[in-house]
């Protein structure tokens, strides 16, 4: 499931240090500075933590049993590059003074920075802050790259990625997957009559109503123009109908305040749910079927829902 993470979520710092005293001092300091700390006593534990948790900053001891700091660096960079959804991990190597000549090895393995032991706490704090700045910036960029600017919903690029992931999951665990395509009724007329700013306000208002009414693990995306698309994992035909109807009612009962007018807005919804057993399912198939259903809903007179079971599954 894609996590909807607030921008302020604290950065997790992994400390990989086999020496108990050093680990304890690092942990005490780093916690005091407001980070979440994950402690690993050797390279293997550290590697496990890196896979299980979203680690923003890693403070790695150079010499460790099982997997040493340099090998860890290489492994981290591999997952960073293989998986573009994986958050970048900023790596600070802990080195002894006499290892300094080997630093080039550390940097070419993928370390971002280093600090010599015994470390000066102000220096470590400053170096962590540099790393945090980079992680924050990256999170912002990622957010901007995946969100629609007007509504704050997932954008189309992100939508396809979520769909592909959910389709994969559906095929793996044999759960039904549903999507609902939504179109705001007479949107063009709203724009023509009240101006594009009112149109924008309507889109925002509808988005915010939908956000409140879907299940916590459903994902809402802006497909384009006034068309929105909701991805509903593990949702059968009956449940999809229920949710679609709930959304239709929620929008039609609420008036939308724009600068110029108070509007009665309605939506039409076209949904599709897969069966349990699916092979070779493509995002396009789901989208075109829900599009057909949406068109039927429009023909039926708008402000209504049409939900279909995917043809091949009947």
């Amino acid at each position: 499931m894609e996590k909807k993470l607030p921008r302020t979520r604290p950065i997790k710092v992994l400390i990989a240090e086999d020496n108990a005293v050093s680990a304890k001092i690092l942990q005490g300091n780093i916690k005091d500075w407001g980070y979440d700390v994950v402690l690993a006593m050797d390279g293997k534990q550290a590697w496990q933590a890196l896979q299980d948790e979203e680690i923003g900053l890693a403070v790695l001891d150079w010499m460790m049993p099982e997997i040493n700091g340099i090998e860890l660096c290489k492994k981290i960079r591999q997952i960073n590059y293989q998986n573009e959804n994986h958050e970048y991990t900023y790596i600070i190597l802990l080195t002894a003074r006499d290892e300094q000549k080997d630093l080039i090895k550390g940097f070419s393995a993928g370390a971002d920075d280093y600090i010599t032991k015994p470390f000066n706490s102000l220096e470590l704090k400053a170096r962590l802050k540099t790393g945090k700045r980079l992680i924050d910036l990256q999170r912002q960029l990622q957010e901007q790259a995946n969100r629609d600017g007007l509504t704050g919903l997932w954008n189309r690029k992100r939508m396809y990625r979520i769909l592909e992931k959910e389709i994969n999951r559906t095929q793996r665990i044999s759960h039904p997957l549903a999507i609902i395509m939504i179109d705001i009724d007479n949107f063009k007329r709203i724009n023509d009559t009240h101006g594009h700013q009112s149109g924008d306000a309507v889109l925002q208002a509808v988005s915010s109503i939908l956000k409140k009414r879907v299940r916590s693990y459903d994902e809402i995306c802006r497909y384009g123009g006034d068309e929105l698309l909701i991805i509903l994992p593990n949702c059968n035909l009956g449940e999809t109908k229920k949710i679609a109807e709930r959304l239709r009612q929620a929008v039609s009962y609420q008036k939308v305040n724009t600068e110029n007018a108070v509007l009665d807005v309605t939506i039409s919804l076209g949904g599709v749910s897969t069966g349990n057993k699916r092979t070779d399912l493509k995002p396009e198939t789901l989208i075109s079927t829900s599009d057909e259903a949406l068109l039927e809903a429009k023909y039926k007179g708008r402000n209504c829902i049409v939900v279909k079971k995917l043809k091949e599954c009947m």
Binding site: N19, G28, M63, K117, P118
Partner: protein, 134 residues
């Protein structure tokens, strides 16, 4: 903690530098010292075995780790001696290793005042067992 009240004495620990590192928390320092001492005894025993068997790789690794811990607690002499032990492991110099190992034991004795006497007694017993166990 009365153990830490005289920063001017040239004891085994550079108090002002370690306090800066851990934010001036004396009870935390006490806790760290106890962890360090337990850790030291275990490593000392590993070092003894490694020296007896001429395992230079282990000498180097264990001394390195001890060097780091000593440095973080600003136990300057112990840090330096650990370092020369690490070097002797690297250079496969058994005579130098033995010398540094003995010096390490002597310098460790100077931590005596940093622990309550009953706890120290316990540690001393362990150290004697390691030293006499051939």
């Amino acid at each position: 903690m009365s153990n830490f009240t005289n920063p001017k004495s040239t004891g085994p620990i550079d108090l002002s530098s370690v306090m800066e590192r851990i934010g001036g928390d004396e009870s935390f320092l006490q806790e760290l010292i106890e962890i360090y001492i337990d850790d030291f005894v275990e490593k000392y025993s590993q070092l003894k075995q490694a020296i007896q068997r001429g395992k230079f790789g282990i000498i180097k690794e264990v001394a390195h780790s001890l060097k780091g811990a000593s440095g973080n607690l600003s136990l300057t002499d112990l840090q330096e001696t650990s370092y020369s032990l690490e070097l002797s492991g690297k250079e496969k110099n058994i005579e130098q290793a033995k010398k540094s190992f003995l010096r390490l034991g002597e310098e460790f004795e100077r931590l005596k005042n940093l622990l309550p006497s009953n706890k120290w007694q316990n540690i001393e017993d362990k150290m004697i067992r390691i030293k006499t166990n051939v």
